[in-house]
C-alpha cells in the first residue's frame, strides 16, 4: 500500500469528497481518511426498521437549470466532471415563513413569488426590499469582505422589524454559525442560494448522491479509508509531513486538507484553540414517519415551513435543552414529481443547548429526548394540524449525536463563527476546507473543497 500521498484529506464529508475528486481528476495521488464507517459526515444516513433515514438533507440549495452555465450548482458539477444533465433534480413545491397572527410569506424557486408576498403583507416595505435585493445582486459576496452586521445593513432597507425577522429566519437557520446576528456576506450568499436560486432534492436518497461522489473519486484513482481516525499531524518545523491514525499507523504526505473544523484541526496540531473557535448553534432534529393516508389530516402542501411563535425569534443557544418556539418543519417528500410511497416523513428542527445535553446522565438524556420531543410536537401541531396519533416510527438526534458522528465540537452544525476564508493555517501545507472555511450547506461545502484545491494545491 502507498504510504506517501501528495494529498491527504481528513474527513469524508461533502467538502472532503469534492476536494478529493477535484485533485484526483488531474492525476494527483490522494487519500481521504474518514473516521466513521460510511461517508457523508453531517449529510449521511442510517437504517432503522427498514427505513433509510437521512441525517442532513432537508433540501439542497442553489437550484439552477442545466443550461445556466455560471450558476454555482453547474460550476460545481463541471469542476467535478459530473454530468449535470444526468443529475435529475426535483424542485420544491413552495415554502412558508410562518409568524404569529397568521403573518405568512410563501416563496418558491420563482423569486417573484416572494416579492409579491412581501408587497402583499408589507406594502410599505416593497421599495426597500427591491433596493436590498439590488444591493445583494451588486455585491461580490465571495470577495474577502470585512465582517459587516446584517442587522445594521437591513435597517437601511427594511423598517418593519417583523419583516426583518421573517427574512432572517430561513437564512440564519440554514447557515449561520453566529448567535443573534450574521455576517452580511454570508447573508447575501444565503439570500441568493435560498430565495433567488431555490431549493431542490436530488433524485434518490443522499446515499445515492454519496455513492455517485465516491464512485467518481475512486474512478479517478483516489483512495478512501473508513474507520480511520486521524489523531495528530506530524511536523518537521512548520510543515506537515504526515498524519497518525488512532491505531498508531503513520501515513506520509506532501499536503493536507482538513475538513473537520478549525477547533479539531488545531487539536491535531496540539495548538490551543484561538479565541472562541467553537460555535454555539446546535440543534435537535426529530424524524417522524407516518403512513401515506395521514397526509390528508394536516397542512401538507409546502416543502419547508420556517416558523416562529413570537414576533422576534432568538437565534442563539437556548437557556433550556431545546427552544421549540421557533424552528423548521420539513416534508422531504414534497418535491415536484417525486413518486409517493406508502409512508412519508415529517422532520422538525429546533435550536438546542449542547451543555445541558452533555451534562445529562444517560437516563436523564433519554427522558429529555421524550419530554422535549413532546413539546416540539405540540407546538408544530398548532401549525400543521395533529399528526401525532399517526406516527409509526420516530427518532431524534441531539447536539451530542452531531458531535459523535461528525466531530463538530459541541455539535455546532455550522462550525465556528470565525471563518478562515483563505483556508490558511499556521502550517504552510495544511489548509481548512468545508464548514469552517466559510461555505455552508451541501453545495457550499462542496464548492469550498473544490476552491481550496484550486487555490492551494493544484497550481503548485
Amino acid at each position: 500500500m502507498n504510504t506517501n500521498y501528495s494529498l491527504i484529506i481528513i474527513g469524508g464529508g461533502l467538502s472532503g469528497l469534492a476536494a478529493g475528486i477535484r485533485y484526483a481528476r488531474f492525476g494527483g495521488s490522494v487519500l481521504i481518511l474518514e473516521k466513521h464507517t460510511i461517508p457523508g459526515g453531517l449529510n449521511s444516513y442510517y437504517s432503522r426498521k427498514g427505513f433509510l433515514l437521512e441525517t442532513g438533507l432537508h433540501a439542497m440549495t442553489n437550484f439552477a437549470d442545466p443550461g445556466e452555465k455560471h450558476a454555482p450548482l453547474n460550476r460545481l458539477f463541471r469542476q467535478l466532471k459530473l454530468s449535470r444533465k444526468q443529475f435529475i433534480t426535483h424542485e420544491q413545491f413552495s415554502s412558508l415563513i410562518h409568524f404569529p397572527d397568521k403573518t405568512t410569506l410563501s416563496f418558491s424557486n420563482d423569486f417573484s413569488l416572494l416579492r409579491d408576498e412581501v408587497a402583499r403583507v408589507f406594502p410599505s416595505e416593497i421599495d426597500g426590499f427591491d433596493k436590498l435585493q439590488a444591493f445583494i445582486d451588486s455585491l461580490d459576496a465571495f470577495a474577502p469582505n470585512p465582517r459587516l452586521s446584517t442587522r445594521m445593513i437591513l435597517a437601511d432597507y427594511i423598517h418593519d422589524p417583523l419583516l426583518t425577522e421573517m427574512l432572517l429566519l430561513p437564512l440564519m437557520v440554514y447557515g449561520n454559525s453566529e448567535e443573534h446576528d450574521m455576517d452580511f456576506s454570508q447573508f447575501a450568499i444565503m439570500f441568493r442560494s435560498i430565495f433567488k436560486e431555490g431549493m431542490f432534492r436530488p433524485h434518490g436518497t443522499i446515499k445515492d448522491f454519496l455513492d455517485l461522489l465516491v464512485t467518481k473519486f475512486t474512478s479517478f484513482g483516489g483512495e478512501i479509508r473508513y474507520k480511520s481516525h486521524v489523531v495528530s499531524c506530524l511536523k518537521k518545523g512548520n510543515r506537515i509531513t504526515g498524519v497518525t491514525l488512532a491505531n498508531g499507523e503513520i501515513i506520509n504526505c506532501n499536503n493536507v486538507i482538513s475538513t473537520i473544523g478549525a477547533p479539531g484541526t488545531w487539536n491535531l496540531l496540539s495548538l490551543p484553540p484561538e479565541n472562541d473557535m467553537c460555535g454555539k448553534m446546535s440543534f435537535m432534529e426529530s424524524i417522524y414517519i407516518l403512513p401515506s393516508n395521514a397526509r390528508k389530516n394536516i397542512l401538507n402542501d409546502h416543502t419547508i415551513i420556517f416558523y416562529s411563535e413570537k414576533k422576534e425569534f432568538q437565534y442563539c443557544r437556548p437557556q433550556s435543552p431545546v427552544d421549540p418556539s421557533w424552528g423548521v418543519i420539513c416534508f422531504p417528500e414534497n418535491f415536484q414529481n417525486l413518486p409517493l410511497g406508502d409512508h412519508f416523513q415529517i422532520r422538525v428542527t429546533n435550536a438546542a443547548n449542547y451543555e445541558l445535553w452533555k451534562n445529562a446522565s444517560s437516563s436523564q438524556y433519554k427522558l429529555m429526548k421524550v419530554e422535549w420531543g413532546k413539546v416540539s410536537k405540540e407546538i408544530t401541531t398548532k401549525i400543521i394540524g395533529n399528526y401525532q396519533q399517526n406516527i409509526v416510527y420516530e427518532d431524534s438526534f441531539t447536539p451530542l449525536t452531531i458531535e459523535k458522528f461528525t466531530a463538530k465540537e459541541q455539535g455546532a452544525v455550522y462550525g465556528s463563527p470565525f471563518k478562515i476564508k483563505n483556508g490558511k493555517t499556521p502550517c504552510p501545507n495544511l489548509f481548512i476546507a468545508g464548514t469552517d472555511q466559510g461555505f455552508l450547506g451541501i453545495v457550499g461545502s462542496m464548492l469550498s473543497g473544490v476552491s481550496m484545491v484550486n487555490q492551494h494545491i493544484l497550481q503548485e
Binding site: F26, G27, K69, R78, K81, S83, K85, Q459
Partner: protein, 83 residues
C-alpha cells in the same frame, strides 16, 4: 504533433470540460472564454488537463496566450513538437 492535431486536442479537452460546449460554430480567432461562456475555473481545467496529459507546466503569466484557439495552437506548437 502537427498544428491540426494540436487543435483537435484543445477542442477535445474543451468538450470534455463542458458537456454543453458548441464547438461547431467556434471562431478560431475569437476569445474562447466569450464564445463558450467559460469562467476562470473552467479555464484552469484546460491548463490542468494539458499538464496531466503532456506534463506541460504552463505558468500563470502565459494564460493570456491561450485566449483563442489559434493562439493556443501557436503557443503549444513548439512545446508539443516532439510529442
Amino acid at each position: 504533433m502537427t498544428r491540426n492535431e494540436i487543435k483537435d486536442i484543445v477542442i477535445e479537452i474543451i468538450e470534455d470540460i463542458d458537456e454543453d460546449a458548441e464547438m461547431d460554430s467556434l471562431d478560431s480567432e475569437k476569445p474562447l472564454r466569450d464564445q463558450l461562456d467559460l469562467d476562470s475555473m473552467d479555464f484552469l481545467d484546460i491548463v490542468m488537463e494539458l499538464r496531466k496529459r503532456y506534463k506541460l507546466q504552463i505558468p500563470e503569466a502565459d494564460y493570456p496566450q491561450l485566449a483563442t484557439l489559434t493562439s493556443c495552437v501557436n503557443y503549444l506548437e513548439p512545446k508539443l513538437q516532439d510529442v
